[in-house]
């Protein structure tokens, strides 16, 4: 049987051959953690470069092209610059919370990354409440934003943080409910299970009309979750300067910055897993080559990431009350109606399956 289990099993038995079983567990955990940290950094670097290139192409510019071929090392240069910068802060800041805030964001996005099946069995831990775990973990991030804005003792940062609190709490409902609509189809919260179900057609095809509605709501709410334009109330540079991270510099700022990009990846990855069959290839064309699962997963995820970048570089920003109107008066009622519609479709067996 093909699968990435071969590799992990090999590593496991190799470590076990010269170590006691108890130590093996710890060693393997550290290895997994290191692997995810590496993935985190690489994704962050790549997404920043991608954002800059995409933005440039939208704006009649060339984008970074000086450091390395195609500007490949531009983000590495930026990271080095941020590392070497002095960590400034406000005098009357609540120092403990001020220093703590970035970790909330970075830990929440790092933990969320752990449950994604990048390919068959290529997953750190496959819990049976996968989707629930993702929704729960991703809402920890907002605590970091609120703390950062509040503790830095800056009015602009405070306004940004309060906006973020309002926005994230509202849009979490829509993210949760639109995913719940799809859960009706799969009957399981486990991510690997959700992908198994999609072997007879991606969920967006299986659930057709309500699934497409759910996907649109998910993308809107997901963009709002990550605080990106057109929902970037939190930063809103023409209104608040830099928003909640006004007083952060150097690596602390970079944590916020990186977390935003990883969150964007996570939103796109959830979308891929739940709507577009995760690592499954279209029509099963490469089912015999399991390692291409990673390729398909990344292709789909980055297509969704591109979609979010497209939003960002074309749409103006909403006003804060319009943002809440959109959620509470439009998305939420449509969402509730959509769940009922999906239930009826499943009840009448109107789903499309190959």
């Amino acid at each position: 049987m093909y699968s990435s289990l071969i590799i992990t099993n090999n590593i496991h038995s190799w470590v076990l051959s010269w170590m006691p079983a108890a130590a093996t567990g710890i060693i393997e955990m550290i290895m997994i953690a290191l692997a995810y940290l590496t993935l985190f950094a690489v994704l962050g670097l790549f997404l920043v470069l991608m954002e800059r290139k995409v933005a440039a192409w939208f704006q009649l510019r060339i984008g970074p092209n000086r450091v390395g071929f195609f500007g490949m090392f531009q983000t590495i240069a930026d990271a080095l610059k941020l590392l070497s910068k002095e960590l400034t802060g406000t005098d009357k800041a609540d120092k403990f919370l001020y220093n703590l805030a970035p970790y909330f964001l970075i830990i929440s996005s790092l933990m969320a990354l752990a449950v994604f099946p990048f390919s068959k069995n290529l997953q750190a831990f496959d819990i049976n409440i996968g989707i629930f775990f993702l929704i729960a973990i991703s809402s920890i991030g907002v605590i970091g934003i609120l703390l950062g804005g509040w503790s830095s003792n800056n009015k602009f940062a405070l306004i940004g943080a309060m906006r973020s609190g309002v926005q994230t709490i509202s849009y979490e409902l829509s993210v949760g409910l639109s995913l719940l609509t799809m859960i009706l189809l799969t009957g399981s919260l486990q991510l690997s299970e959700i992908i198994e179900v999609q072997k007879s057609g991606w969920l967006i095809v299986q659930g057709h009309i309500p699934a497409v509605i759910a996907f649109m709501i998910y993308m809107i709410a997901g963009t709002a979750e990550t605080n990106r334009a057109p929902f970037d109330m939190v930063e809103a540079e023409s209104e608040l300067g830099a928003g909640f991270h006004t007083e952060y510099s150097g690596m602390k700022f970079a944590y916020f910055f990186l977390a935003e990009f990883i969150n964007m990846f996570i939103i796109a990855a959830i979308g891929t897993t739940v709507f577009f069959g995760g690592w499954l290839s279209p029509f099963g064309i490469t089912e015999s080559i399991p390692w291409l699962g990673v390729f398909w997963f990344m292709i789909k995820t980055f297509a969704l990431v591109f979609l979010m970048m497209w939003f960002r570089w074309t749409f103006p920003r909403l006003r804060v009350d319009q943002l809440l109107t959109l959620e509470w008066k439009y998305l939420l009622p449509i969402n509730l109606f959509n769940i009922v519609l999906m239930a009826i479709i499943i009840w009448l067996n109107f789903t499309i399956q190959f």
Partner: protein, 373 residues
């Protein structure tokens, strides 16, 4: 008693924040003292003077030829038009009749300046409401106009081309060709502007019904230019007091009656179309002749008071000269459109959100050096 306690515990407190002098939305060094309650604006107090260079006082020191080199630094986005105002005032005082060629070239340059100012405004407007891409689109087209100006008068921003008595030098041989190329190019690009911003539902939501200015208030506050015309106040100086070659051409005054930010936006978009039409009417008919009339090396205005107003990209610019017969003006006063338009800000933004303030400020289109002088 009990309700009082409840009301007190939920009472919101007003607080104030400094918007500027270094803030992305204030376009330069304007400081706004905002009194806000949560997100709702209670009071806006513009605090001026951060870039005051006492240009009016400096004018009293300079000769009339030198003054022209100061006025382009007031509203640097309509520098040609500022300079033309001074030149017209001096020429009227001296009773000089400039050649037809000068008049036509001045009008063409004015309208090019207007387009270049409005394209920059359009880009920045998009940026202020959160769509960064429009900034680069606006600058793409503005750069072409800057190229034309650079070829003819050697500068790209603070251009000095008008002098009392005519122009500093003749237009570049390429001028007519390049202006025609630009017009052809810009006619295809202006619909793109509509596609990117005008038709966007978020943009319309952000600007419609925001910062509403009634026609009465527009007149009372002395508003002019697109700000007043967005409220239905027909006040185009080009229409009512035509100067240079403007009496020979036909154009429509862009007017909208809603008075909100969206109306002001539409007025400027329409003005760009009108400017194109004005240039098209003139560009093929530039008469032959001299590009200036000879003036004395030291211009001395006869004793008296002189006033000339022109329509800059921002509104009505008035130049008021008191001369005692010497080579310098005794007193020089500019009636700048920016200052009176800015005075509206508190009136039309109170009660809105911070986002509304930014959108309204973008449509008022302030240039801080014009306000502070």
């Amino acid at each position: 008693m009990e309700t009082d306690t409840i009301n007190n515990s939920f009472k919101s407190e007003e607080y104030f924040i400094n918007m500027g002098p270094q803030h992305p939305a204030t376009h330069g060094v304007l400081r706004l003292l905002l009194t806000i309650d949560g997100e709702i604006i209670k009071k806006v107090e513009p605090d001026l003077g951060y870039i005051h260079r006492s240009i009016e006082k400096m004018c009293e020191r300079d000769s009339y030829q030198q003054i022209v080199h100061l006025t382009d630094r007031m509203d640097y986005l309509s520098s040609h038009i500022n300079n033309e105002a001074v030149c017209l005032a001096v020429e009227n005082a001296l009773e000089i009749e400039v050649p037809e060629r000068v008049k036509v070239i001045r009008t063409i340059i004015d309208e090019l300046t207007r387009i270049s100012s409005h394209t920059l405004w359009w880009g920045v407007m998009g940026m202020d409401v959160g769509a960064l891409t429009s900034y680069f689109y606006g600058f793409r087209d503005r750069e072409l106009i800057n190229d034309i100006f650079e070829e003819t008068c050697g500068a790209r921003l603070t251009m000095n081309y008008n002098i009392p008595g005519g122009l500093m030098q003749d237009i570049h041989p390429n001028f007519v060709k390049r202006v025609k190329e630009f017009i052809a190019h810009f006619k295809t690009k202006l619909p793109e502007y509509d596609k990117l911003l005008t038709g966007n539902i978020i943009f319309q939501k952000r600007t419609k019904g925001v910062g509403v200015l009634s026609k009465e208030d527009a007149i009372a506050f002395g508003a002019s230019g697109p700000v007043a015309r967005g409220s239905g106040y027909s006040c185009d100086v080009r229409k009512y007091h035509p100067y240079s070659a403007l009496d020979k051409i036909t154009f429509n005054e862009a007017l909208h009656t809603e008075g909100d930010s969206y109306a002001r936006y539409l007025v400027r978009i329409q003005e760009m179309w009108e400017s194109i039409s004005i240039i098209e009417q003139l560009i093929d008919n530039i008469p032959e002749g001299d590009f200036k009339v000879a003036t004395k090396a030291v211009i001395k205005l006869p004793k008296g008071e002189y006033y000339q107003k022109v329509e800059t990209a921002r509104g009505e610019l008035g130049v008021y000269i008191i001369s005692t017969g010497g080579k310098n003006p005794h007193r020089m006063k500019f009636r700048s459109p920016g200052l009176s338009n800015l005075s509206l800000l508190n009136h039309i933004t109170v009660g809105g959100k911070i986002g509304d303030l930014v959108a309204t400020m973008a449509t008022i289109d302030i240039v801080v050096p014009d306000i502070d002088r």
